[in-house]
């Protein structure tokens, strides 16, 4: 990839264990992401995908290697990156608007209160929560809380949105609605987005690129799958696209078998620093 908007360069993370021998979650992990990309990272629990996201967020420090965002090294959390937490992480004593306004006031401390609230209200409206802005998180449904979390993240106009399984705690209907919402917002604003999921269908529907991680400890990025599905995706139509099943089979094959066997069965010429990019498509003569 030529545009290295996000560049992860050989990071490693080790955690101490009771026996004294630290366990290596991953090491020498490299990945770059272009501006405006929607990247999903997929892997089993414990493969370290959350750790990668926390390192990108600056909430966790790698034991080796570097992370650059837009040419600047990341060593601490910052307002150029917004995190949408799995558990929404709203402050329960503030209203929906108050939660978003808190982020806006942190991003632009010199703004007047009226302007802060106006910006917060715009973010609330953007995620379709108009009318619920004065409610506290406890009065909102799970889906609405996650919407507030998304509004809070969008309100600070970050360079990157980082999402840690944001929809995993929601029911299927709400999840679908929020996926549509996130996809629409990202396409409208050209937002760069890095998202963790373990839901193959979610990754296929949302992502431009899907990063496959093998099982930990010692997890590796096996490959980067380019999504062959067209940019215009309709939830009720994409499963009829000829490339749909080749992609889905590829992902599921990976999760079921290759995530375990990859370590002992690496493709020839595999380079950790530059994981191969693949694009599973229907077997047609046009494929070059």
């Amino acid at each position: 990839m030529s545009d290295r908007f996000i560049s992860i360069e050989g990071i490693a993370r080790r955690f101490p264990t009771r026996s004294g021998e630290p366990v290596t979650i991953f090491e020498d992990l490299s990945l770059s992401i272009a501006r405006g990309d929607f990247v999903c990272i997929i892997g089993h629990s414990g493969c370290g995908k959350s750790t990668v996201l926390n390192v990108l967020a600056g909430l966790d420090q790698p034991d080796a290697g570097f992370v650059f965002i837009d040419g600047k090294q990341i060593t601490a959390p910052g307002l150029d990156r917004a995190v949408i937490f799995q558990s929404h992480a709203l402050l329960p004593w503030k209203t929906a608007l108050g939660n978003v306004a808190y982020a806006v006031a942190s991003r632009w401390p010199s703004l007047k209160k009226a302007e802060i609230n106006a910006r917060a209200q715009r973010a609330i409206d953007l995620v379709g929560l108009h009318g619920a802005e004065m409610k506290r998180p406890a009065e909102l449904s799970g889906g609405m809380r996650q919407r507030v979390g998304i509004a809070r993240a969008l309100s600070i106009e970050p360079k990157i949105l980082l999402m840690d399984e944001p929809f995993s705690a929601l029911d299927a209907l709400t999840r679908g609605a929020l996926q549509d919402e996130v996809r629409r917002i990202c396409r409208d604003t050209g937002q760069t987005l890095f998202m963790i999921t373990h839901d193959v269908d979610e990754a296929m529907y949302l992502a431009d690129k899907i990063v496959l991680m093998t099982n930990g400890p010692g997890a590796m990025i096996a490959e980067i799958v380019e999504n062959p599905l067209p940019q215009e995706r309709k939830r009720d139509e994409i499963h009829r696209h000829p490339d749909y099943y080749p992609l889905r089979n590829h992902l599921i094959d990976f999760l079921v078998t290759r995530s375990v066997t990859f370590r002992n069965d690496m493709p020839a010429g595999y380079d950790r620093k530059k994981p191969p990019v693949v694009k599973p498509r229907a077997q047609t003569p046009t494929m070059a």
Binding site: A76, G78, F85, L91, P92, Y102, R107
Partner: protein
């Protein structure tokens, strides 16, 4: 159950019934019995009604009630050092509690914040807190009297020292237990340490802090009675001891009742404040 009356009404009726039975039993137990053996009238005069008419020294509910009404009619009179209205005595006690408790709030909450935020301070101060916490506050009294040399201030110091520990421990506990995800929100938003303390940690720990404040006010109100018995002069504790010396059991019973009522009001006040800062999750 198809009972029509709501629970609180039924409970209220039952409370009244229990009180009526208690008052009746009290009345029966303390009313005058048959006269004792005849004795010399001069001697009988010295002994008083208790010995001569078989009347109990313990006042009955009617006497206590009449005396209570009399006290409530004139709560704020002041006829010299040994004869002040109950309102005046309670006000003295409450002022002492307010002063000692207020000082304890000023020390315990910032110090609790420090202990809660810093694992180092937590570990370093823990042995002191663990040893000082179980000490009866009255054990400090001689030390306070010796160093402060003022009985009124010593009582305030004793209130301070007994209110300190629950607030300190609860503040530290509340602050150290703030959910990591809320702190992470503050970190990703680059919120500075002071703003984080006031906008994230304080509201998150407020319910725990108020629980500590509520425990403290209860202990302070318990201790003030004992402290005033020791230091004397004014206050409801002194009143109780003074009336015991006067052998006025009626006044002692009335004081017990009023100490209970004021303690309940203080507790309710803090409970209300705690509810106001508690957030549903």
């Amino acid at each position: 159950m198809a009972s029509a009356a709501p629970l609180s009404l039924r409970a209220g009726v039952l409370s009244l019934l229990i009180f009526a039975i208690f008052a009746l039993a009290w009345h029966m137990a303390t009313r005058g019995g048959p006269a004792g053996p005849a004795m010399d009238p001069e001697y009988a005069k010295l002994m008083g009604a208790t010995a001569t008419q078989g009347k109990s020294a313990m006042p009955g509910p009617l006497e206590v009630g009449a005396k209570l009404i009399e006290h409530l009619r004139h709560p704020f009179y002041d006829h010299g050092p040994n004869d002040k209205g109950l309102g005046v005595q309670l006000a003295f006690s409450m002022l002492r509690v307010a002063a000692g408790y207020g000082l304890a709030v000023l020390v315990a909450i910032p110090l609790g914040f420090l202990i809660g935020m810093s694992p180092l301070m937590n570990k370093a101060l823990d042995p002191f807190i663990q040893i000082m916490k179980p000490v009866s506050p009255l054990a400090w009294m001689p030390l306070a009297l010796y160093t402060i040399k003022d009985s009124g201030l010593s009582a305030i110091f004793v209130i301070f020292i007994c209110s300190l520990w629950p607030m300190l421990v609860n503040t530290a506990f509340g602050v150290s237990g703030v959910r990591k995800e809320w702190l992470n929100v503050a970190r990703t938003l680059e919120v500075g340490p002071w703003r984080r303390a006031f906008t994230v940690i304080l509201p998150a720990a407020a319910p725990t802090i108020f629980t500590g404040m509520r425990i403290s006010i209860g202990i302070a109100w318990l201790v003030i009675v004992a402290a005033e018995m020791l230091v004397g002069g004014t206050g409801i504790g002194y009143f109780v001891w003074n009336e015991w010396n006067n052998l006025s059991i009626t006044n002692v019973i009335i004081a017990i009742l009023l100490i209970g009522v004021v303690g309940m009001l203080l507790d309710q006040l803090l409970a209300r404040a705690a509810r106001a800062v508690t957030f549903p999750e």
